[in-house]
Symmetry: C2
């Protein structure tokens, strides 16, 4: 009896060509993060359930993979923020602050499986954690990391949307709507998806007084460039402390982003961005590819007051962003907008005409590798046609064919699989050509 080989639904498993592309994107994100000095972390995928769920609740707790092994109550991480909080609380005394870390790794959520929703997926996170305090200039640095990352991935037309949660919270304070602020934020957050009318309708259903809905909508519909929006916020004449602190922070961050040389066309103040409920307390970010807005934000994050309050009394403010790489890759492939990525590992396939030329083939392959050229040798006793087909299927650009003549004269025949060009020359000449 054979067991049917199968992969679980909701788990991405790629063909090698796609995996090469995926890894290339992952590496570009990593290199972009490292360019700004973020340090790597690689925390375990399994943690004690008590530690992992210290803060969780509701949906998270339902989705988590939790199980016993021996007497231990364990769980798989569902994001990279909780493990970071644990890490900083556990080892804080040994770390240098501000602590800038990146982590790129798989996380697990037992969501309903459907197209584009994964149960195992990569997150690519960066966070900067302060010891008691953290300068707003770090809030201003993250958009330059986002800018660098998406430029490196080959995108030009994207917008980093920036807001500050204190502005919204301060607005609600001034309207005495604090208690409903969570619900209101959640509704506002959907404006791109459901439209203005439905936002108003949902606010009415929430029993927000009509005049306050007017104020909220007036506030949301503030238009103009970033400076104009900030000026119009000031012109609203709202006097609550929170509101004005929010404006101050937003202005500082926007000015800082300019100092970081992020082009004006790639960032904007967007007062509709709210980023979920209670976690973020200041700056918030969302990033949109302008030609593919329907896929939603491709990089989001924000400022939080206290990373690890469930583990320690130490105050650890932070600011961070995350790219959901697995979903992002799925969407990019679906929209067919990943044309520039690397598609092969080997640059050269060395193909001996017959087993007679294997010795020479191994020598040639070895010489190419010594020049740092990724090279494989086709060693199976097959017809030359099969060897070309292999190179073609693996997107290998060059095939070096070695026959009796080449071996005798210590030359090599190079075929460029893209142009179809073919030439016979010495190995040294061919190496120069390939490089």
């Amino acid at each position: 009896m054979k067991v049917e080989p199968r992969t679980l639904p909701g788990f991405m498993e790629l063909f090698p060509n796609d995996q090469i592309e995926f890894n290339s994107i992952k590496e570009k994100i990593q290199k972009s993060y490292e360019k700004f000095g973020f340090l790597p972390l690689d925390t375990p995928i399994i943690e004690s359930a008590e530690v992992l769920l210290a803060k969780a609740g509701g949906e998270t707790e339902k989705q988590i993979y939790r199980f016993n092994k021996g007497e231990n109550d364990l769980a798989l991480r569902f994001d990279l923020t909780v493990p970071l909080a644990k890490y900083v609380a556990e080892y804080g005394g040994e770390l240098s602050f501000p602590f800038k870390r990146y982590q790129i790794g798989k996380v697990y959520r037992g969501e309903k499986a459907q197209a584009g929703r994964y149960r195992e997926f990569y997150q690519c996170d960066i966070d900067i954690i302060g010891d008691e305090v953290l300068s707003l200039m770090y809030d201003a640095e993250l958009p330059s990391v986002i800018y660098e990352t998406f430029k490196t991935l080959g995108f030009e037309d994207f917008t980093i949307c920036i807001n500050n949660r204190k502005i919204l919270n301060g607005l609600f304070e001034s309207l005495n709507l604090n208690e409903k602020s969570g619900d209101i934020l959640r509704i506002i957050d959907k404006i791109e998806k459901i439209g203005k009318e439905n936002v108003i309708k949902e606010l009415e259903e929430l029993k927000v007084p009509e005049k306050d809905i007017d104020t909220i909508m007036k506030f949301i519909e503030i238009t103009g460039n970033s400076d104009e929006k900030i000026q119009k916020l000031k012109d609203l004449g709202i006097t609550t402390k929170t509101f004005n602190l929010g404006i101050y922070e937003l202005e500082e961050v926007i000015n800082g982003i300019r100092k970081n040389k992020v082009p004006e066309k790639n960032f904007t103040v967007d007062l509709t961005i709210a980023r979920g409920l209670d976690y973020y307390t200041g700056t918030v970010y969302e990033t949109f590819l302008n030609d593919y807005k329907k896929i939603g934000s491709v990089c989001s994050g924000g400022r939080y007051e206290n990373l690890a309050e469930y583990y320690t009394d130490k105050k650890l403010p932070g600011v961070g962003i995350s790219i959901g790489l697995t979903r992002f890759f799925y969407q990019m492939k679906k929209e067919n907008i990943l044309k520039q990525e690397k598609r092969s590992i080997s640059k050269v396939l060395v193909a001996p005409m017959s087993n007679e030329e294997i010795t020479y083939a191994l020598e040639v392959a070895n010489a190419l590798r010594n020049e740092n050229i990724n090279t494989e040798t086709y060693l199976e006793d097959k017809k030359l046609k099969a060897k070309f087909k292999y190179a073609d299927k693996l997107n290998i650009q060059y095939v070096i064919v070695l026959g009796e003549e080449e071996t005798k004269e210590r030359k090599v025949t190079l075929k460029n699989m893209i142009t179809g060009e073919q030439e016979t020359a010495t190995l040294d000449e061919i190496i120069k050509k390939i490089k």
Copy 2:
């Protein structure tokens, strides 16, 4: 009530400096594998328990992390070979053969936690899978991959030990000891650890006739260089088909390794290498660092007849090797033999003397990054001393200090943290210096 932040025993979690080293090693292994054209795979960590355990049993089954989520009986992968078997059986029709893949990923075994034993650990595997057949020349290629990998990791004095399981099996056939071969192999495999006398004692306990023990020990104690050993094997005059096929394969592989230009000093025939029980059927490899033999083999593998027999009728012979990176890293750190590895992410820390110089600091950092120099800016309002201490702790080689004067004259002051040298110059001059 705070939850105590803690990491589970048996799970490696590193400080950033160590993580940088670890990742550097991981990347070097990956680049070495890619140099030979191995394709990347990244299979899920969670699989259906039925699929993952199709072949398992005994110890493996006890160690596995297995749990239910909803109605699904799931398990975490305990190696990278079973997922490869599943993958090739599942998608074989879409793949190009010989299928050369690498996978570097975490696997899970609920072993007894003790120093150097991990429950979550990285394996770095390569395998070459044939469609029905696979040339012995691929067995000869793997030692050149091992050679390239350990050279790249900075090692010189290591030996790849090579044997062929058919030789031992053929010997047992000729002695009519087939039924005990598994047990005998297990005992022989321990000779480095327990010594000759204990091997004999254990063979006696197994009730192997005395004259056969003599033959076995004579066989094991064949000495000389690789060619001499092969000649002495031939001289034993054993006529079973398996034995002679084993000698033929071993000789072919040894000659192939030479054609791959692996230096003689880095490989040898070692007839004591047996590699576990039933899995391997031909060539087997183990690799030892000669100055650190006590840590055991750092890279092992071999040839198997049939990768995926539990999933498919298709015959898929293969040959592969694996590096247990987590354990390897633990041992290297313990023996303090990882001196050449990269220890920092940022090459430069830009340190403004005060908040007045932040604008200029961000400009300088941006210019450095545009030259592909990993650079971070210290943005917290601290004394210069704290900024130097930060650079020192993170092993950042250069600190660029920007004061009032530098800002006015558009110059920068560069301090080399290793030599202590300090100079003030234009940014262009300093960039040349750093590069």
